[in-house]
């Protein structure tokens, strides 16, 4: 339905590529696509790195620490959308607590931090990526067997060799799978950005919903075309990912 409509002209019936052409030629929408993709990629990458460190740490720590960590992750994974945006406004908004702290301590990096910007948005996205990514990655680390490490040591390898040659290739497929979950999670996220920046920052999901419930004019056909673009980015990201997953599994077995 959405796909069909995206090819329809705004009035009457027919077939047209007009909406797609305008998406990729008008600066406003180019910017939306670009911003969305960039924020999704950066937040997923940071999220996965932190999650990697976190899951690795949890795997090495005692079970008491691990339980504690899992509880915190579970708890904070509920904390997303508008409440999250609000909490960050309290923290780093114009009169946010950390901003005040920075001002009185003379830390200009904190005092001048602008939460209502791409940087701030990125921070909130990373926030909701971390619990999800860590919870998804943790089971993978359980699959790493202690014997493998001992074997590497016995054969004269060191820690570095173990991680680069054995551990990372083993967990690579699930890292990549997690990455694609994170990417689609971020690119479709709407509530946080909406609450934090309203319409002041161009992101795909926000532009899409504008076309349907907009304050100005509703352009359903154009919105449909935008939605198709959003779906396409997800499909492209997933297939690139699948390609790498296949490759890393294939490479690992040899």
């Amino acid at each position: 339905m959405i796909i069909i409509r995206s090819f329809a002209p705004e009035e009457g019936i027919g077939f047209t590529f007009e909406h797609y052409i305008s998406i990729f030629t008008k600066r406003l929408y180019q910017q939306a696509v670009l911003n969305s993709v960039l924020i999704a990629i950066v937040s997923s990458l940071v999220g996965i790195i932190v999650a990697f460190l976190g899951a690795k740490a949890a795997n090495e720590a005692s079970s008491k620490w691990k339980d504690f960590f899992v509880n915190i992750l579970n708890m904070t994974s509920n904390f997303a959308g508008i409440p999250l945006a609000f909490a960050f406004i309290i923290l780093l908004g114009n009169v946010g607590v950390l901003v005040m702290f920075g001002k009185s301590m003379g830390i200009s990096a904190l005092a001048n931090f602008d939460i209502y910007s791409a940087k701030g948005l990125l921070l909130t996205y990373i926030y909701f990526q971390i619990p999800l990514a860590t919870l998804l990655l943790m089971p993978t680390f359980n699959g790493l067997r202690k014997e493998w490490k001992e074997a590497v040591m016995l054969l004269g390898g060191n820690n570095f060799v173990y991680w680069t040659k054995i551990a990372i290739p083993t967990i690579m497929p699930s890292m990549l799978a997690t990455l694609s979950v994170l990417f689609s999670n971020a690119i479709a996220a709407y509530a946080t950005a909406y609450a934090l920046l309203s319409n002041n920052y161009s992101l795909l999901p926000i532009r899409i919903s504008e076309q349907f419930v907009g304050d100005v004019v509703q352009r359903k056909e154009f919105g449909s075309a935008l939605a198709v673009v959003l779906m396409l980015t997800m499909v492209i990201a997933t297939s690139i990912n699948n390609y790498f997953i296949k490759k890393s599994i294939g490479g690992g077995s040899r």
């Binding site: 460190l53 960590f69 915190i72 904390f79 508008i82 999250l84 609000f86 479709a188 909406y194 939605a227």
Partner: protein
């Protein structure tokens, strides 16, 4: 030893990043002023204001309705489907699974606008916004409900239970709903909590479809955001409390289930 220390530091750092906004929101809700480094004026006034606000209570009731009704509809449908699959046509399972995974791919904004543009001019019961939101949530929670119910059915070995009940003279339908379903009750509860907390946290769908027609707590919160910081942090704390409460129930049920299984083994 050095290693476990460094992993502890990493855990603490990540936890700190994750917990800090939560704690601050809570602190913010119980003080009257926070314009300098330290807050001033401890008070519970904002809690009283919010909890006595009629609009808030109405929005809570709305939220509860739109989260429970989809769960009931969806669970009934999935259970009936699983009944047919388990008892008569096990080979249909892969198609059901495929169908139930589709909502994973169509998320948030896209789902909401597709439904809105498809049904906005539909005949009455479907173009009613309330019905629309409820039915949309059914789609959103479908994959989770299917997964949860299927997993719990797999663990109890439903076929054998039904055979046993039949030997004692029950028909298949009765056996499924009187013997099998009570046995997966804890699984159903977990699914219920999961789906309800998902709907509780949703803003996208209700904002786009429900829009100005009716309010849930998320919408209420969004409106409060531009009025009073304290009031909205109170709403957040209340909502988060509910979410925590539900996940605590979920966890205790899960642990119970695990213990039961250990005892029977």
């Amino acid at each position: 030893m050095k290693k476990s220390a460094s992993s502890k530091i990493i855990i603490v750092l990540i936890c700190l990043y994750l917990v800090l906004p939560l704690i601050l929101t809570f602190l913010y809700s119980i003080f009257t002023e926070w314009n300098e480094v330290l807050p001033k004026g401890l008070t519970l006034r904002y809690y009283k204001d919010i909890l006595l606000d009629g609009n808030f209570l109405i929005s809570v009731i709305h939220t509860i309705i739109v989260s429970i009704v989809p769960f009931i509809i969806c669970t009934t449908v999935v259970l009936l489907a699983l009944y047919v699959i388990v008892v008569y046509h096990p080979e249909w399972d892969k198609y059901t699974q495929m169908l139930c995974n589709i909502p994973y791919a169509i998320q948030g904004v896209i789902l909401a606008i597709s439904i809105l543009s498809l049904y906005v001019n539909a005949p009455q019961p479907f173009s009613n916004r309330f019905v629309m939101v409820v039915l949309t949530y059914c789609i959103v929670i479908l994959p989770y409900i299917y997964r949860g119910l299927k997993n719990s059915l797999d663990t109890i070995n439903a076929n054998r239970l039904i055979e046993a009940a039949q030997m004692l003279g029950a028909n298949k339908f009765y056996a499924f709903f009187a013997v099998v379903v009570p046995n997966i009750l804890s699984g159903i509860t977990i699914v219920a909590m999961l789906s309800i907390s998902m709907v509780f946290g949703d803003f996208v769908i209700v904002n786009i479809i429900g829009g100005s027609y009716f309010q849930t707590t998320q919408m209420y919160l969004y409106k409060k955001l531009f009025q009073s910081g304290q009031a909205s942090s109170v709403v957040i704390v209340v909502m988060f409390g509910i979410a925590l409460f539900m996940s605590a129930i979920m966890n205790s049920l899960k642990n119970k289930g695990r213990q039961n299984r250990k005892e029977t083994n």
